[in-house]
Amino acid sequence: MTSIQLQNVSVEFPIYNSPSRSLKNRVLSVATGGKIERKSDRLVVVSGLRDVTLTIREGERIGLVGHNGSGKTTLLRVLSGIYIPTHGEVSIEGHCISLINISLGIDPDATGYENIRLRGVMMGMSPREIAEKMDEIAAFSGLGDFLDVPFRTYSSGMQLRLAFATSTAVRPEILIMDEWLSTGDEEFKGRANQRMAELVDATKILVLASHSRQLLAANCNRVIWLEYGRIKMDGAPDEVLSAYFGC
């Protein structure tokens, strides 16, 4: 059973101002008496998340809203298991993929085909899986013979197409996204949206952070509003969205 549970989760970031970040300075400050150094050596801690308790069950499509710095990215990273919280418990059941930077793993000097492989490996696909999906990805990207030439020769739109086509070929149980993936010209955009819909349909849990009301209303069945690292509101999309967007 796919699920995510957070129990009283807090995330605190230590801010190492340069004096405390370097061991050399720490040693030097001892050698020089260290009064002035010590004053700035205080460890500053910034709270990313504060006491968040949350259960996400199979079938839920979570939308995440909040102003910049409200903890959305931090929460996404906790949900994908990248940040282990400073306090509290996390339990993630299910194979999780986060599509945040869809170009991660791509080597500009490698060809399109090689990059499909590299991107696939980065997302944890097996060689067999990649081989099976290769033709489909190549066809979807619509890049044809360009797939045999180095990635860096592509226009930025073509580069995004390849990254998008490969990244959306995965079928994880938990899908985590920071903003919706949409790219390309009008023709491609239509196909891309359909492909995104297929991907979302195939996943058991979706967590999507976005600033677009329309997008969240269309794709989510539960919306969480974060403010100052806490959950301010958690409920049905229309309810939370109208409170957040203020109408």
Binding site: R21, L23, I82, I92, H95, R117
Partner: protein, 275 residues
Amino acid sequence: MHHSVGSSGMRKTGARVALADMVESLRSIRVALVFGWQDVAQRYRRSRIGAFWLTLNTAIFIAAIGLIFGTLFRAPAGEFLLYLGVSIIVWNFLSTTIAEGCTTFIASEGIILQVRMPLFIHIIRTLWRNVIILGHNIVIFPVVLFLVGDFLDWKALLAVPGLLLLILNLAWLTLVCALICTRFRDMTQVFTNFLQVMFYLTPVMWMTRTLPERVPSLVYEVNPFYHLLQLVRMPLLGEYPDGISWIVALGVAVVGWTWAIIFFGKYRWRVAYWL
């Protein structure tokens, strides 16, 4: 790599966390191998001889030093050149791996903050990349062997377990250096300087028997790098490494790994915050 399945009640610290990370890394070792290979392949993209540039640099260095020091130490030219060639190749492998190890997590920041992956994968990637480059540099050896007019005998095979033991030690060293340097960024400079000093302190360019008599042999015998180097170097020069070198290398591996696992277990969860 179907990781992160069933991680309920995730533990944060402890040796078990470290071991679980390593087991998971080995299970998805393909990621490390593909990207380590990719690192080397990148050097070939727009250059015909690619990573062999490094080999060429090494070869020129060996030739120059061989000429200068061979004259200076009045060592028999052929014998010294062979000794120097093997020493430099192995030492370069050792020191580059540790130096790159320091920046392993920092260099993989993009991946670590976006994809949940065991962290030891990045260490394996660094090791593998350097093993491939060692594979390039090792071609210098038969060339020197030919120039000197020497031959290999069966003892050379002992270099294989020696190399494995060296890599085993480099793995824990790299892991520990990566953790320390991610937290304290300027430690990378400290380690680089340390390696530079060790290069002169370890019998790499000089032979133990050219040491003046008033200098005690302890200066190199207490140096674990010397023993690690000996294990690969001696077989290739047609001699058996001393028993003590095997013992030291094994001992350092056991102690080092134990420490590294405890250390890694304690700080693994902090790495993402340090980036």
